[in-house]
Symmetry: C2
Subunit: 522 residues, 2 copies
């Protein structure tokens, strides 16, 4: 684990470390390692298998160059070759160290690289360390193991990533959701919730952890604006919260959608300009050491790597290292070796160039989806729509005779990530009225389920918004009990994987189902 000397020291946050994490001790086996380094020492102490007995001698990886033009019919391109040998070929990266057990902290050069990237992209004002982890899923699991006690509340967005919640639901932990507008969760609502937190009625201490996917959130697609971030950070300082910034989509930020714009040919910007175009992270404004940032290569290199890193206050990384030693050990050696070799070949600037190309790809795919919505519906700005309280844009059906607009769903054009989040309004839809009249327990949920099934029957698959509800306990599951808006429900569109043609056909099929359901009379 490396470290950089910065001028600012963190405030004391040691009270945030939970009881179990506090009671971890460094393994005595790690303690003895320093004696192995003595000049002339003969060690009969280590328990490592003999490296001459590993069957792998050389690894070669053929990679795209960072300037590859992606997305076209993958044209045969000159590949970059990464050579990793066991000390055999001079100049190649030595593979041996990646085959052996590590110390938990990960390869030193890879850590150094993580620090270089951190300085380039975030320049954190406070002292920090980087620590490798095997992907953000595991990183979040370790953070919960670091900060949360059973039956705590964790503050999250109103709609949040289900696997993050699935981890802590068995611990009795619940979500304390904060609502958001197009710029992200509302700092005012966050303050209000914290100010009015009643430990007795909540039967739990005031929350201490704020979990955010702050760029291109899964599912909402929202990127928290710079201004909003500063407001939120201020509240976190006041109420002593730790911010966990789970940010796999950070580099997939792109400009908003313009209905009229021609598709632009891809033209990379100078690196500095690219970096400046990205929303500043919470880490970049963390003057107190209260941000734990989870970095992942899953969306920028590939998910199977199972590799990422924490950037955090050394107080936290030290405890996370203790957990790493006994829960996972180092990330897989081939993943570490591949990533280091790739960076050696590409350079940090090459990686940043690659990211621009990725960014352009996801922008293009976003455009395909939003265009398809414009093609199939009459889209108006929410403010001018029959739903003035909706956010972003509203997709409407237009009456062929009267020309009157009937709103179906609103969506916010995402400026990052892979998702369009939509809110369907079905207050006047005959089938919904029927369900309500039948006094079904949760008519909103029942209607959304029927709508989803009708789309499945038409062979188009969206993700039900109910998957992403913040978990507030088994007594707060229904639309009413959650206090959610009546007569509406959410769906998530993903534009990451389908082709342009599939997206267009998929939205057409959806339009067909909506036409049928919205225009039916009971």
């Amino acid at each position: 684990m490396g470290s950089l000397n910065h001028q600012q020291e963190a405030v004391d946050l040691s009270h945030h470390i939970n009881v179990k994490s506090k009671s971890r001790h460094p393994s005595p086996l790690k303690e003895i390692i320093k004696f192995m380094g003595y000049d002339g020492m003969i060690s009969l102490a280590g328990g490592l298998p003999h490296p001459s007995l590993f069957p792998l001698e050389r690894a070669r990886f053929d990679c795209l160059p960072p300037s590859a033009s992606l997305g076209d019919q993958q044209t045969e391109t000159d590949l970059v070759s990464l050579n990793l040998g066991r000390g055999l070929s001079p100049g190649d990266l030595d593979l041996t160290q990646f085959l052996q057990y590590g110390t938990g902290a990960g390869n030193r050069r890879l850590i150094q690289l993580a620090e270089d990237l951190t300085e380039r992209v975030h320049a954190p004002p406070c002292h920090y360390e980087c620590l490798l982890h095997p992907g953000n899923t595991n990183a979040w699991s370790k953070v919960v193991g670091l900060l949360c006690e059973d039956n705590d509340f964790v503050i999250v967005e109103e709609f949040t990533y289900p696997s993050a919640q699935a981890l802590w639901i068995p611990l009795g932990i619940k979500a304390a959701p904060v609502s958001a507008d197009a710029e992200g969760i509302l700092a005012t609502n966050l303050r209000e919730m914290l100010e009015s937190w009643d430990e007795k009625s909540r039967r739990s201490r005031r929350p201490r952890v704020l979990y955010l996917v702050s760029v291109g959130s899964n599912p909402t697609g929202i990127t928290i604006s710079a201004k909003r971030r500063r407001e939120i950070y201020q509240v976190c300082v006041e109420f002593d919260l730790v911010i966990v910034e789970d940010d796999p989509y950070y580099f997939l930020q792109y400009p908003g959608y313009s209905p009229q714009a021609e598709e632009q040919p891809y033209q990379p910007k100078p690196t500095g300009e690219f970096l400046k175009s990205l929303t500043p992270s919470f880490l970049s404004m963390d003057t107190q050491g209260r941000v734990i940032r989870l970095e992942s290569f899953s969306k920028t290199i590939f998910p199977g790597l199972r590799l990422g890193y924490f950037i955090a206050n050394p107080l936290f990384t030290e405890r996370l290292l203790r957990a790493t030693e006994i829960e996972t050990q180092d990330p897989a050696g081939l993943s570490q070796a591949f990533t280091l070799a790739l960076f050696n070949q590409w350079g940090v600037d090459g990686y940043l160039l690659w990211l621009q190309s990725l960014q352009h790809q996801y922008k293009t795919r976003r455009d395909w989806l939003v265009s398809a919505i414009y093609d199939q519906f009459t889209v108006v700005s929410a403010a001018k729509s029959p739903l003035p309280t909706a956010q972003g844009h509203v997709a409407c059906l237009q009456d062929k005779v009267t020309g009157k607009l009937r709103p179906v769903f609103s969506f916010v054009d995402p400026e990052a990530g892979m998702f369009v989040w939509s809110k369907f309004y079905f207050g006047g839809v005959a089938r919904f009225i029927e369900l309500k009249a039948q006094s079904v327990e949760d008519p909103e949920q029942a209607f959304a389920q029927e709508l989803w099934e009708a789309m499945v029957a038409e062979l188009v698959l969206l993700t039900p918004g109910s998957y992403y509800h913040a978990w507030q306990g088994s007594d707060k599951v229904s639309t009413k009990a959650r206090g959610a808006d009546p007569r509406s429900a959410f769906f998530r569109f993903s534009f990451a994987t389908p082709t342009k043609e599939q997206i267009e056909e998929g939205v057409k099929r959806m339009r067909k189902v909506i036409g049928r359901v919205w225009e039916a009379t009971s």
Copy 2:
């Protein structure tokens, strides 16, 4: 996760699953995957990054052939080349699937391979499933998350692997150690402990989990004999224990040391004979589905893979899969791809041939160490020694004048693994008598520490046995409080990494220190 149909169904062990594990639900995101497989379905539901945007096109690995002669001056040998491409070269393993997110269960063909190996090696009598995991460290962490409640007791060997304990000590879990002889832990002692378990005075329910490194145990080197295993299994049935068989050294079993034997040239046996020579696993005698076996490739391929698999009752693997989904996801893709490609190339028989070669290597290294002890000390069988209660062999100093033997340490010749475990006797040593007279708190521990430091000063490093004490709570740390044998302490020798010359020199240095300490008069 695959499954095989066997005749025997497991008994109902669902009461072993702990409260937190019971309350995990499958992710709804996993539920939707089956709809993605419908003919003609257009999915706007998935959240996976687009595979055309992964920069890795081809991976090639040059490996030793399974028949490579290891350990010699690594002679240049014809390497086996593994080719993994992204559907580019026909016949090569398709890399794409390994770059993408998996389902948690791991690659199907790799699971199938794990099942094939399990059938060949263990032929479990009961229905089971295999589930991949990222190494036994993480596997054990998931098993504790599956079976243990806070403040439980776990039954372990008297000396056990410290990282396994470090995981559960913060949970308030303690060890209930069972003593062992050269054939492993004593079934009679295990039964006695369970029969007489007093929940009130122990302030904990009777233990339900038996954790064993049952072959070439770290640190004791003991391999539990077939007969002893059957006795232990019977007690586990009676007292309803789950056996966790953590068995990374299973294939590193080898014949005992013969002082007179010439070094034999390596000659592989037919595969069937090799397999028959291995002690039967607990899994192979598990007629009730109460064995969870942790398999690892760390000692047989290389540790950096971070890859292994559970073999267990489907009741348990289903819960372990739920934990995998939210705690780690699939093991790293390159590790899975490499291992599958290696097996495709080598075949299961090739792998078993490779293991014989490894086995021979570790046997040779064990011989180097034990020979060096014979060279530096007078070694007599324990039964004939001045310490008739000791086990195995006793290394003695011989008085040059009287010829009288003075015992220094006993050790059991390990027939598996990487370690020689030794018990030092220092009842009559002047310095120890002095420490006792000074009423230091734990004179045994103090003496062992001084001895260890004296060896460090002489540039030979052993691992202190105290690292491996079963953790019974902070009130049971001293030799006396633990009820351990007085006037003795343990050290672990590892023969895995040093060369023959280093081992010989290391033991010579140790002999020098022992001579000085044992012969000193106060």
